[in-house]
């Protein structure tokens, strides 16, 4: 029979909702990162596994300590930990990994007001903190890819006691990442292994190809705005092609410039974070363009071999201004009937 009026529930329109929710966005991002994570473990063995696991655990711990109880479930802490773990050198002492992850969430996220608050990506805050605090470890904690015994033992440096320098020396592969090798004037890696990722580098920044696939998955799932990576990679391609044309000796070719895993990770997974990127479509283009330009400038005209991290930080500082410039003009005509 008919319901009586007093049982009716009242709620303002709309009564429909799209199938998008913050935890779902986080879940898809994690899924998109799985291939490169698996590949990282294959490439670097236990070292990669431990780095990522410790980063995630430390992020969860920090979230539990600093955040509201409900926030643990939204998946953002796991994603932060995963991204941070993937962006670190594999043999970094695990206490540094945990320290950086804690800083990322406690300082980078909750000091800025929690989810949606930070003006800078928490992962970048954690990464930059580690880079600034422990530059020599960050510059040396590399391991060779596909090393024997990687599946059964951790690098000695990973197990350094908290706050102490590891007893064992770092492997210290010369020119740890392909780009820094190029910068130092050494021969570059072949283009194919550069893209496939069978090179030395950060845990999850070796395979540009897998990161690219993950990014495309996110675009397909409508989790990220495709304009940002398109503009970012496009502008890196454009500016590096121009430089290469001017002086092929000094500047690497376009495909080499694009084949950096750090660039891919930044373009698809960090730059697209909704909190640090502009809200409008025009803004997204400008934002990607600016970061791409910064990447090329920092790589080629500063001491850094890889400029993605700092370019992203600078780019996200631009975001509020881009948002103001590209603020949409409301339509004026009446719209009813």
């Amino acid at each position: 029979m008919m319901p009586s009026s007093h049982l009716l529930s009242l709620r303002g329109a709309p009564h429909l909702h799209a199938d998008s929710a913050v935890p779902r966005l986080m879940l898809h991002s994690v899924i998109a990162l799985l291939p490169v994570s698996v590949f990282a473990v294959f490439l670097f063995g236990l070292a990669a596994l431990a780095t990522v696991a410790v980063a995630i655990l430390a992020c969860l711990l920090a979230e539990r300590v600093c955040g509201p109880r409900s926030a643990l479930g939204d998946g953002s802490a796991i994603l932060t930990g995963l991204l941070l773990g993937l962006s670190l050198p594999p043999a970094l002492p695990l206490w540094m990994v945990a320290f950086g992850a804690f800083v990322a969430v406690a300082v980078g996220k909750h000091l800025f007001g929690g989810l949606g608050g930070p003006a800078f990506h928490p992962v970048l805050v954690g990464r930059v903190f580690l880079q600034a605090a422990f530059p020599s470890a960050m510059a040396q904690a590399w391991v060779a890819p596909l090393a024997a015994g990687r599946a059964t033992e951790l690098p000695a440096t990973s197990l350094a006691l908290p706050f102490l320098t590891p007893d064992a020396p770092y492997d210290g592969i010369s020119g740890a990442t392909p780009l820094s090798a190029l910068k130092a004037g050494e021969a570059g890696e072949p283009l194919l292994s550069l893209w496939l990722g069978t090179v030395s580098g950060s845990v999850g920044e070796t395979s540009a190809l897998l990161l690219l696939l993950g990014g495309l998955y996110l675009v397909y799932r409508r989790v990220i705005d495709w304009r940002i990576p398109a503009a970012l990679l496009g502008s890196v391609a454009l500016f590096s092609a121009v430089l290469h044309a001017i002086d092929p000796e000094r500047f690497p070719a376009m495909m080499t410039a694009l084949g950096s895993g750090a660039l891919m990770l930044g373009a698809w997974f960090l730059a697209t974070d909704p909190g640090i990127s502009p809200t409008t479509r025009r803004g997204a283009w400008l934002y990607g363009l600016a970061i791409g330009l910064l990447v090329v400038v920092i790589r080629q005209f500063s001491g850094q071999a890889e400029g993605v991290m700092y370019a992203l930080l600078l780019g996200s500082a631009l975001t509020p201004h881009i948002d103001r410039w590209t603020r949409p003009k409301p339509l004026s005509e009446g719209v009813e009937e």
Partner: protein, 445 residues
């Protein structure tokens, strides 16, 4: 895609609409034992009752006279007796007179017949007067006096009549019913409007799922009154007139926005249906939908029918938890089922318990900008939401143009954090209106 693109900014793509044969069905709804007829059923001034309690009235007889320009006359939906005339609160809380009419049991309920009009033989003024006398209002949602609208359109030099054949809300199926069952009425109505405006050019806009039905209509009868068809890709809220005109213009329609006047398909069909038979407006074509109904579909519902009665007729189940006037995107949830169906009602949705449950808790804004992309009038809902939370209503209007919000609900629909954006905006605008009313009342005092 395929050369078609919705060319207003933003909007959302709702789940695709599939049409069935049953969508074209129109069922006549029986009379309830008591019809409650508010003296104001549309967006405009109330009319003035011309009957007394106890009067016996015939179906189609005038019950209330329009005195203001924006008012429309009200006619008896059924032969019966006026039981009572009282002041009752309407949906917004203002008091309005309500005529309560008890239909005579066992009456054949035939429509009293006035003079049928033929657009080819009447003068524009004659037609215009007849439209006014029939008590017609816009049936697409805006619900202003159709007479007044035509008068304004004629004064404004409207040259093109755009028939808005786009459902205002998801779940509604009035358009296929009108196209397939009321084709001749649509054509008659169009002829009358063209004659009133003394122009030749007209255009029918539908979304692709109704393209086939509209094509048939235009092919069979449309050609001789200059009606062209435009099929647009579906996108909510394309039914809003201003957005529809933008969409048409960028889909290649030769259209000067200043010269166009938009009427909903339902209004045009109703003009044709009523005037060509000499009838007046006594009922309303509605889609009753929602998972709480066993017999959803299109119904012709007498004005004044209580919502509870209409739902029961459509086979409402016991677990209906929420009832919406209109549709799921903009519809108001009703608090009392005794409220009547009126001229402004465009649809009725009965939501079963369970499907409406589990409204997710709002989370913090992650500044994703989805709402900015979705807003069809290019406001900045995220920023507005922030201001609303801080209670800075003033700035919402002065700096962020809240007065231009059409409350389509797209922002709330897309928000991944489930922030009730449009709900907050509605509250802010309500408060703003109250403040303005207060200020306005103080001036003469």
């Amino acid at each position: 895609m395929f050369g078609l693109r919705p060319a207003f900014p933003g909007g959302v793509r709702l789940p695709a609409v599939e049409r069935h044969d049953s969508d074209a069905l129109i069922r006549q709804m029986a009379f309830a034992s008591l019809l409650r007829l508010p003296l104001r059923q549309h967006a405009g001034a109330a009319s003035v009752a011309v009957v007394q309690p106890g009067d016996e009235v015939m179906r189609g007889q005038l019950l209330a006279r329009a005195e203001a320009d924006t008012a429309v006359p009200l006619h008896a939906p059924a032969t019966g007796r006026v039981v009572r005339i009282s002041a009752q609160p309407d949906g917004d809380g203002a008091a309005v007179g309500v005529i309560e009419l008890a239909p005579a049991a066992g009456d054949t309920q035939e429509e009293i017949t006035g003079r049928p009009l033929d657009p080819a033989r009447c003068s524009p003024d004659e037609l215009l007067r007849a439209i006014g006398d029939a008590g017609l209002v816009g049936l697409g949602g805006e619900a202003g006096s159709t007479h007044e609208r035509l008068v304004r359109a004629r004064a404004g030099g409207a040259r093109v009549v755009v028939i808005n054949g786009i459902e205002g809300e998801p779940g509604q199926a009035r358009v296929p019913a009108l196209l397939l069952r009321h084709g001749p009425d649509v054509i008659q109505g169009l002829r009358m409007v063209l004659r009133v405006l003394q122009t030749e050019r007209s255009l029918l806009a539908v979304e692709s799922h109704d393209g086939e039905a509209a094509g048939k209509l235009v092919q069979t009868v449309g050609a001789d009154c200059g009606l062209t068809l435009r099929v647009l890709p579906p996108r909510y809220p394309q039914g809003a007139a201003g957005l529809l005109l933008r969409s048409l213009a960028s889909n290649g329609a030769d259209l000067n926005r200043a010269e166009a006047v938009v009427f909903s398909l339902a209004t045009i069909a109703e003009i044709g249906r009523l005037l060509s038979r000499g009838w007046v407006m006594t009922d309303q074509l509605l889609t009753l939908s929602g998972d709480g109904l066993d017999k959803p579909g299109n119904y012709r519902v007498p004005l004044g029918t209580p919502i509870a009665f209409a739902l029961a007729e459509a086979g409402a189940r016991g677990d209906v938890e929420r009832v919406l006037l209109g549709g799921p995107m903009r519809g108001k949830a009703v608090a009392g089922l005794e409220r009547p169906i009126v001229k402004a009602t465009t649809g009725l949705v009965a939501v079963a318990a369970g499907s409406a449950a589990g409204v997710p808790e709002p989370m913090a804004c992650i500044r994703c900008g989805d709402c900015v992309t979705a807003c069809p009038v290019q406001l900045h809902p995220a920023e507005l939401g922030l201001l609303a939370r801080r209670g800075e209503n003033e700035a919402m209007f002065t700096d962020w143009y809240l007065d231009r919000c059409i409350e389509c609900g797209c922002c709330s629909y897309v928000c991944p954090s489930h922030i009730p954006l449009v709900q907050m905006f509605r509250a802010a605008r309500l408060q703003q209106r109250r403040l303005q009313r207060l200020a306005g009342e103080e001036v003469p005092a």
